[in-house]
């Protein structure tokens, strides 16, 4: 297996018991991400994009298909069959996830929440502190906010903090669910810059983006959700000769 992540025949249907309803979120998804590759997923709202990432991260219970992942610690494994304990280990050490929604640890300061994330991957406390500050500075969070509870932050500040928490770990595989939605142009640029940095370091990324043009030059291939296949290869590198 060459791919860092290979999804085969993934499908998910939710059963909402009270309403006696079944909702098919996605079906028959095949998609492979090579090591170091950055794949962008696009598609209309409700087409099942977030569901794919949540299944890989196991926030949703897998139902159909396989998700082969080449773990540093465990070797090639199917994330859909892996024990909960192993998943918790992988979330700490190898697989990062930036949610479309703001899910920050309550009652934790911005600085602490990034620092804790860094400590989880085994960074020394001094280094974790430095890295946390570097992230806070990179995302241009006001120094006054560093030691405030993130719950009081604006939407955009929270989102930047979310991204910082995931990225400070330099994960092996990073799942991004619209990490730039609702950010202003400047903050978007900051996220893009870090994505570029992680890509240069070899992080494998699978990201949902409303507008992939913004990731031009970074994103290697585009997967069109409604179509169930890759719609474009190697998006043009901005500024490259035609």
């Amino acid at each position: 297996m060459d791919a860092m992540l290979a999804i085969e025949g993934l499908g998910k249907t939710f059963s909402v018991h009270q309403l006696g309803k079944r909702i098919k979120a996605c079906e028959g998804i095949d998609l492979a991400v090579a090591a170091g590759e950055f794949i962008g997923i696009t598609g209309r709202s409700g087409s099942g994009k977030s569901t794919i990432l949540k299944l890989i991260y196991r926030s949703y219970l897998p139902q159909k298909g396989r998700a082969w992942y080449r773990s540093e610690r465990f070797g090639p494994i199917d994330l859909f069959q892996t024990s909960e304990r192993q998943i918790l280990y992988l979330r700490r050490r190898e697989i990062g996830y930036v949610s479309q929604f703001l899910n920050l640890v309550p009652r934790t300061t911005a600085r602490d929440s990034i620092e804790q994330a860094a400590l989880e991957v085994g960074m020394g406390s001094e280094r974790a502190r430095e890295e946390a500050e570097r992230m806070l500075r990179h995302f241009e969070l006001d120094e006054e906010l560093w030691d405030s509870y993130a719950s009081t932050f604006s939407g955009g500040e929270k989102l930047r903090l979310n991204v910082a928490r995931a990225m400070v770990k330099h994960p092996r595989l990073l799942l991004l669910d619209e990490p730039t939605a609702s950010l202003d142009e400047r903050s978007k640029g900051k996220v893009r810059e870090l994505i570029g940095k992680l890509k240069a370091e070899g992080t494998t990324m699978l990201g949902i983006f409303h507008d992939l043009r913004f990731m031009e030059g970074l994103c290697d291939r585009e997967y069109g959700m409604g179509l169930g296949r890759f719609v474009s290869d190697a998006l043009p590198v901005a500024g490259a000769p035609p």
Binding site: R58, S59, Y60, L61, E84, R85, P106, Q116
Partner: protein, 282 residues
């Protein structure tokens, strides 16, 4: 040798607790014989029915469920406040996890309770001696765990009470005059005094003001992070479990209806009961 992420601190197998005489109909263990957790023929209440789970080292395992689902009964059995009707439990810190802690000698049980477990009671009246100072309450557990040195015990009690933010000038007061949040914090100090590898927490925040709840939760989070103690966290509040637990077990009528990663239980609950529980929270 299990890998470091896969070592269980506590393993419970086939735990049963019933109150009542049992009759031929309900003792078959068949679901149809009962109304919820109750046998209408003989009046036996089945508080726990064939419960099994593992608590991993350094993990917080949430136990949620409605009132009467059996949550406190699990902790009562594990802390020897109550005798289980059937089943076994193994602590990795006791005889290498080889011996069922329910079936050892009375003396061994005292050792387990006093040196390997700490418990915070749902009702502080059960967890604390209200007529004794906070320092004495903590020292009581230290004495039970084998300490005999008065000045060392006092120093340790003061340290622990300081850790849970009981101001020094109040440590000699009896907890009966404390607020609910302070009583819970004294209970936590007491439960931690013997450095237990496993902590049993029964509704640590229930009945407290929101701001006090938050402080107690911060404390639990901090303890978990700094000491890496494994915790069985019983709560009917999914918000508490969301904040603290890695994995969660959902109980109904004495049985586990669903178990999984906490975010999975909250975002993609499978069972009708769990869906109702989660949706009623949101």
């Amino acid at each position: 040798m299990a890998a470091e992420y896969d070592v269980s601190a506590l393993r419970v197998e086939g735990l049963w607790k019933w109150f009542g005489p049992r009759c031929p109909r309900c003792s078959t263990g068949r679901e149809e014989a009962l109304e919820r957790n109750y046998c209408p023929d003989c009046g036996t209440v089945y508080a726990l029915r064939d419960l099994s789970f593992r608590l991993f080292e350094g993990e917080v395992l949430g136990v949620v469920g409605e009132s009467g689902s059996g949550k406190s009964t699990i902790l009562n059995c594990l802390y020897y406040d109550m005798e289980p009707s059937a089943g076994a439990a193994y602590l990795s810190s006791f005889e290498g996890g080889e011996s069922d802690v329910f079936s050892v000698s009375a003396q061994a049980k005292r050792t387990v309770r006093n040196t390997l477990l700490g418990k915070v009671y749902q009702n502080a009246l059960l967890g604390l001696k209200m007529g004794f100072s906070s320092i004495s309450n903590v020292a009581e557990k230290l004495i039970a765990s084998g300490d005999r040195n008065a000045s060392r015990m006092e120093a340790r009690a003061v340290e622990l009470l300081g850790h849970v933010n009981i101001p020094p000038y109040r440590m000699r007061e009896n907890p009966e005059f404390f607020s609910g949040g302070m009583q819970q914090r004294v209970q936590i100090a007491k439960a931690l005094s013997n450095n237990p590898p496993v902590l049993l927490l029964d509704e640590v925040t229930t009945g407290l003001d929101l701001s006090v709840q938050a402080k107690v939760l911060d404390l639990v989070k901090q303890i978990q992070r700094e000491l890496g103690i494994s915790m069985l966290l019983v709560s009917h509040d999914l918000g508490v479990v969301r904040m603290l637990a890695d994995r969660t077990v959902v109980m109904l009528n004495g049985k586990v209806v669903e178990a999984g990663l906490t975010d999975q239980i909250l975002e993609d609950p499978q069972e009708p009961y769990t869906q109702e529980l989660v949706h009623s929270m949101l």
